[in-house]
């Protein structure tokens, strides 16, 4: 199935990716090819087949809710592109 340029632009916004016009063209074509290939899955009868999200059958284990040391704030902040007064600094979100 063909994916339109309009769909590619919509998906790119959902994925927070700015794409050039050339990238939009290329991804429209390449994603269409991959999804054509994937179309064979629709021919498989899965009416009574449960989905597998994880191969592990165990219950998610619970751990004790105890306070443990975490890395010092300065170490975490040292990777940030911009900080201010011990916080991550970002551009304005609202006008």
């Amino acid at each position: 199935m063909a994916i339109s340029l309009e769909e590619v632009r919509h998906i790119a916004i959902l994925a927070r990716l700015e794409l050039t016009p050339e990238e939009q063209e290329r991804y429209a074509q390449q994603l269409s090819a991959v999804l054509d290939y994937a179309a064979r899955l629709t021919e498989v009868d899965t009416d009574h087949i449960p989905p597998t999200a994880s191969v592990l059958l165990l219950q998610a284990p619970l751990r004790k809710d105890v306070v443990r040391p975490s890395p010092p704030r300065a170490r975490i902040l040292s990777n940030a592109p911009a900080t201010e007064r011990g916080m991550f600094r970002v551009p304005p979100v609202l006008e």
Binding site: A38, S78, A80
Partner: protein
């Protein structure tokens, strides 16, 4: 350049214990090899010589203490120089995942698999090249340039753990950690003529492994033989309370003294021998199965009817998981930022500019498969077919102990050969994806060479938690063959 003769990890470990060589000597030797071969291979993204020398000194003190008091336990990897795929966090050492979006990132903590190696006394030489976020089969998707195959510098080493495979093949390190989400340990091991172990899903902690496809990601290892992998596996496997998906099962002591393969039942699935595969690969794999049969294993032809669906299932599920995992790269907490006037533009421009083409392609594909109106048709349907693929394995393992098959349809291809054709590249993974979807362990090891002198790998797959049988069987094969001992002529 005067280098030590090439040793296996276990030989080096024995010499360390006997005091015939020091960890410092081994480490300096490895660093010299890296210095010498790196301009040709580009296997490393970061080198850590100062850390390595410090760790070597500490290991030598530990070895000395052990020689004075041999009753104290000492892991076999104490003092052994190793490398880490650059998707595993090591505190304060640059970790990029082969991506510009993590340029300059220095993790504030260390992955459990890595800290277990370090606690066991290993020496860390550096971080190895990878396809960006482990998405690829050639390391060509690394933002920092491809790694070259030591057997032919014009060819890819495979991927995504291509840097680790090339480093081991070139003797730059005694072993290396890799990760395998769809074949990323096994296929580069095959392309570089080394032995690579993909562990069962949940066997090794993923804490500190930068996530790609969370239901598929596994940490594994590459070395020059199955026996060299045993001490690595023993060090990294086992439950970790920091990863709730790590299995509580105890890790067995692996005894390699299996004299033959009497009683072992091997199944060879018809579906893993497809039209268009390189005839030499099929011949070498069938020949290796014959060797194992002569060693006492019983060999039967089996059918795993859903095998050809693994590729489309994987390329919906893995991108879907990746699109969610990679949402965290927002240029707020780490990584470089494209400066903009508002936050929305910062997300769009930073991610659009700093992710590479394959990563963006998979994020787009995954976002599409998860989006309203397509979720049921693509993602949900892929998860249901995943159940069928897993049931192929469950049924096969009712009658057999190991599945023997090729690792990849061909030997190492040329750099640039697959150009900008994602489907052609995805087909490289056709024999390795099913194990990840089913969560089973696999091992890849050399079983021959093609007419061009390129290594050919074979894969064995076992029941979940069957790493011991994989290592024992591959070791038994390597006791009667010498493919794994051949080394590339690098000059």
């Amino acid at each position: 350049m005067t280098l030590l003769p090439e040793l296996t990890l276990l030989e080096a470990a024995a010499m360390l214990r006997d005091g015939e060589v020091s960890s410092l000597e081994l480490t300096r030797d490895s660093l010299a090899r890296i210095e010498h071969y790196e301009p040709k291979l580009h296997a490393f993204l970061a080198r850590t010589p100062d850390l390595a020398l410090d760790q070597a000194h500490a290991a030598d003190r530990r070895l000395q203490a052990w020689r004075e008091e041999p009753s104290t336990p000492l892991p076999l990897i104490a003092g052994i120089p190793l490398a880490l795929k650059d998707v595993l966090c090591l505190q304060d050492v640059p970790t990029t995942c082969g991506s510009r979006i993590l340029a300059g990132f220095r993790p504030p903590y260390t992955a459990t698999s890595v800290s277990r190696l370090i606690e066991a006394g290993a020496v860390i030489l550096g971080k190895t090249n990878t396809d960006e976020f482990a998405m690829g089969s050639s390391t060509e998707n690394s933002a920092y340039g491809p790694t070259h195959n030591p057997w032919d510098l014009e060819r890819v080493p495979g991927g995504s753990s291509g840097g680790s495979a090339a480093a081991v093949a070139a003797g730059m390190c005694y072993a290396a950690l890799g990760t395998d989400t769809g074949g990323s340990v096994r296929q580069p091991a095959a392309f570089c003529g080394v032995t690579g172990l993909k562990t069962s899903y949940g066997r090794v902690s993923r804490y500190g492994l930068i996530a790609y496809g969370s239901s598929l990601d596994t940490v594994g290892a590459l070395a020059r033989s199955a026996s060299d992998l045993v001490p690595l596996f023993s060090a990294i496997a086992g439950h970790d309370e920091l990863d709730s998906t790590s299995l509580p099962d105890p890790v067995p002591q692996i005894d390699l003294d299996m004299p033959d393969l009497q009683g072992l039942r091997i199944g060879v699935p018809d579906e893993y021998f497809i039209d268009g595969m390189q005839p030499e690969v099929e011949a070498a794999v069938r020949g290796a199965v014959q060797v194992m049969s002569e060693m006492g294993a019983s060999v039967t032809s089996i059918s795993m009817p859903h095998t050809d669906l693994a590729l489309p299932v994987y390329y919906l599920i893995a991108p879907a998981e990746a699109s969610a995992n990679l949402a965290r790269y927002d240029a707020v907490r780490y990584g470089p930022r494209v400066e903009t006037d508002d936050l929305w533009d910062q997300y769009l421009k930073t991610r659009g500019d700093l992710f590479g083409p394959e990563v963006k392609r998979r994020i787009m594909l995954g976002t599409y498969a998860l989006s309203a109106g397509y979720y049921d048709a693509y993602y949900e349907q892929a998860q249901k077919v995943r159940t069928l693929i897993k049931s192929d394995f469950d049924q096969a393992f009712e009658d057999i102990d190991l599945i023997a098959c090729p690792v990849a349809p061909s030997t190492a291809f040329r750099i640039g050969e697959h150009g900008d054709d994602p489907l052609a590249m995805y087909l490289e993974d056709v024999f390795t994806l099913p194990a990840n979807l089913a969560g089973v362990p696999g091992i890849s090891f050399p079983v021959g060479f093609d007419a061009l002198g390129l290594p050919i790998g074979m894969q064995l797959q076992a029941r979940p938690l069957g790493e011991d049988l994989l290592l024992q069987s591959a070791h038994a094969y390597q006791q009667v063959t010498d493919w794994h001992l051949r080394r590339p002529a690098l000059g």
